[in-house]
Symmetry: C2
Subunit: 451 residues, 2 copies
């Protein structure tokens, strides 16, 4: 069996989505024997950047699939050898590398707060340290987008939101962003790859180029309706909006599905378009707006006659917070005698809290009241749910001794995350729904593990 | 030959990195016959977001490679059929799709300004309209990062900059970000995949986890030096910085390569560490700083005894401007009689300028004075360089009748872009080098094409 065949399905290896220092540490650790010490690494955020009142965990399902492809094949090994990143012994270790540890973490779609142990990786130092970059890349990006999406979803209320930001994000991040937005409450995406890969509903009708391609706006509208039917949405702002609306209803009739507005002062324009549509008898024609929206602009349109929102740039860039800023830290390890010790760095501005953790959401009458984190300085025991009656245990097992639970993966994982997010967002206290910069909606409370 | 075999080298198709409305428009255009009208689409930015004084084009080489893989194979066609995105005739068109048009554009690494026609795609409406999302995703992301990187590079002067932000960007965007940063003046990256894929030098030694894995900081330093030699860089801020420096020099000797500081008030800490290193005789030991740097923090360290910078979050997120915000617009097309006409939408806040364009950078004594854009309302002629003596023509041919020029691709393309960027950055007027929000450094001047 060649190394290439060792990669199931021929999926590209994700193993070099790694910062060089992880392999340098591995190299040195194999030499001094510390590589085989069992360790607990924890992925968490020190704070909620951007004055967010809560965060939304996203990316877990993607990460678990990418972890399956974290294998060092011929190409990866050749690169590491040619670049002299590691020595021959380390190359042999990487050749046989399979993650054999345990991963626990928050369900995808779950809320998180400062200090929440969103992901916990337990294994040898060697196998766990090299996952830092991949785990952070996925969770930091996807959670930042999901958090922004949840805020937009709150602002939009019952009106549907479509994700249309692919053009303002790297081509692969765009697909992940569509997925994160759907988990956090969006109902569709313009991105076809997100439709194929993750089963997300796709939408879209026409751009300004469609109108400009034709001699007249009327020609363009007629041609679109000929293909898509009168239920379609016509883009009416290429030339003059009032003329566009008049033409749209003349061509599409009073049962025209919708019109889209992509420019101008939206509250003013939406009101004028609604009045014009109604005066023309097109009272059921829906208005979609899509111009530079963020959660604040959406909130400002709450009283406007808008039926649906399309959100692009601000969604995929996290609405001012493009990364969740989470970190991946060693929090516990075995010492030379095999005993567990909690460890933490003590930098003033970037300190961390050592020890293995269990996490619970305490609730009163169905409303979240705190993020309860039970810390164990040694390794076992950590608190079981029984220790905190009425609280919800936040960790689920994602991989056990290297065996990845497929529940978080694929289309089913996305739908489960979306459903879970809807559920837990309903537990937020009312003040969590505000959009201005503020403190986290619930306090993070640390307790010593009761065992 | 199956469709899958039609994909050379088995590279994954990029064809669904597309917004649904592009295929909806194609579907309607094939039906009404406008699909075969020849068109010119232009990719440009209306402004430089974030108060940037110049932009840096990046992503061109990546885009041309991705364009090679823009093919609709069995899987893509099945998805489009199952989702009823397009009809059977359109599926047949997509099955045979090969871009057969012409692409001209700015060299990768070139500067750009508001209105610069960074990329021009000429072909039938059908073949050109469906490239919108892919082209924008790549160029908007990569150019935003390159522009931030250039500002950081200006702030750093002769001191080297390393890109270390992979963990704060989606896992694939991280690789593209490392590439964009290298083009715009960074000297290395921590990202191993960027090393393999693009030939960028990689760097990195150890994280705090390395120190925490060991019983003492001294154990960790000794083990690192045993593997990497005394030329290595030791991370000294896990516990107490002064103690860390003392231990580092005791273990590594006065010829220790370097120390890294990742926390604290960097000007204060760097000065103290330099004084301590000098007092211990380690006068050639270099200081690298890596904590939350952006171009402003780097500039503020200009007088500090810092030898190298590592930049993460702010680099990969475009330092407050995570997307370049460029758009892809139809600017000229044939009419039903085959005559060329310039077209433009007229929205007040998002108007565009119709007509095919040629672009020139005018220079006086080697310093850029304007972005000269010659507009032709018809199709031919556009200005040749001879029409503007002393100015540099900014467009190069990237693909001719579907045949992609490989010059921009691969490792060689990256090195060429880096060299070109260095050259053209040297032409910027002095006031372009300021970091505060301002107007574009040179004006964009439109002239009618002289023919």
């Amino acid at each position: 069996m060649t190394l290439r065949e060792a990669q199931p399905g021929g999926a590209p290896s994700t193993a070099l989505h790694t910062d060089r220092y992880e392999l340098t540490m591995l190299d040195a650790a194999l030499r001094d024997g510390t590589a085989h010490r069992r360790c607990v690494f924890e992925l968490f955020g020190r704070r909620l950047p951007g004055g967010r009142r809560f965060g939304v965990v996203a990316g877990t399902g993607r990460l678990m699939s990418l972890l399956r492809d974290f294998r060092f094949g011929d190409d990866e090994l050749r690169f590491l050898r040619d670049e002299r990143v590691v020595d021959a012994e380390t190359l042999r270790f990487l050749e046989g590398y399979r993650f054999s540890g345990t991963v626990t973490g928050y369900r995808e779609g779950e809320l998180y707060f400062p200090g929440s142990p969103v992901l916990t990786v337990e294994g040898t130092f060697a196998e766990a340290v090299i996952l830092e970059t991949l785990a952070l890349s996925v969770l930091n990006h996807d959670s930042a987008v999901a958090t922004a999406a949840a805020r937009m979803s709150i602002a939009a209320g019952d009106r549907p939101l479509a994700e249309m930001g692919s053009r303002r994000a790297g081509e692969q991040s765009a697909v992940a962003a569509a997925r994160a937005a759907y988990i956090a409450g969006f109902s569709a995406t313009s991105n076809l790859e997100a439709g194929r890969t993750w089963g997300i509903p796709t939408m879209g009708t026409a751009a300004h180029a469609w109108t400009l391609l034709h001699e007249t706006e009327e020609d363009a509208f007629r041609a679109q309706i000929a293909t898509l039917g009168t239920g379609t949405t016509l883009l009416i702002d290429t030339y003059d909006i009032a003329a566009g609306v008049e033409t749209a209803v003349r061509v599409g009739g009073t049962s025209l599905g919708g019109v889209r507005i992509d420019s101008g002062d939206l509250p003013t324009v939406a009101a004028a378009v609604r009045a014009q549509l109604d005066s023309l008898g097109a009272t059921s024609t829906r208005i979609t707006v899509t111009s530079d929206l963020d959660e604040h602009a959406i909130a400002a349109l709450a009283a406007s006659p808008v039926d649906a929102y399309g959100v692009g740039t601000q969604l995929v860039t996290g609405s001012g917070t493009p990364t969740a800023g989470m970190v991946y830290k060693l929090v516990a390890r075995q010492d030379s005698a095999g005993a567990w010790v909690g460890v933490a760095k003590s930098s003033e501005d970037k300190g961390s809290r050592g020890g293995r953790k269990a996490a619970f959401r305490t609730l009163e009458s169905g409303t979240a009241t705190s993020e309860l984190i039970a810390v164990s300085d040694g390794f076992e025991p950590v608190d079981s749910p029984a220790a905190h009656p009425g609280a919800r245990a936040l960790h689920v097992r994602l991989a056990e001794r290297g065996d990845i639970d497929p529940a978080a993966e694929g289309h089913a994982g996305v739908e489960a995350a979306r459903a879970h997010h809807r559920l837990v967002r309903g537990e937020l206290p009312v003040h969590a729904l505000g959009l201005s910069r503020s403190e986290p909606a619930i306090p993070t409370v640390y307790v010593e593990a009761a065992g």
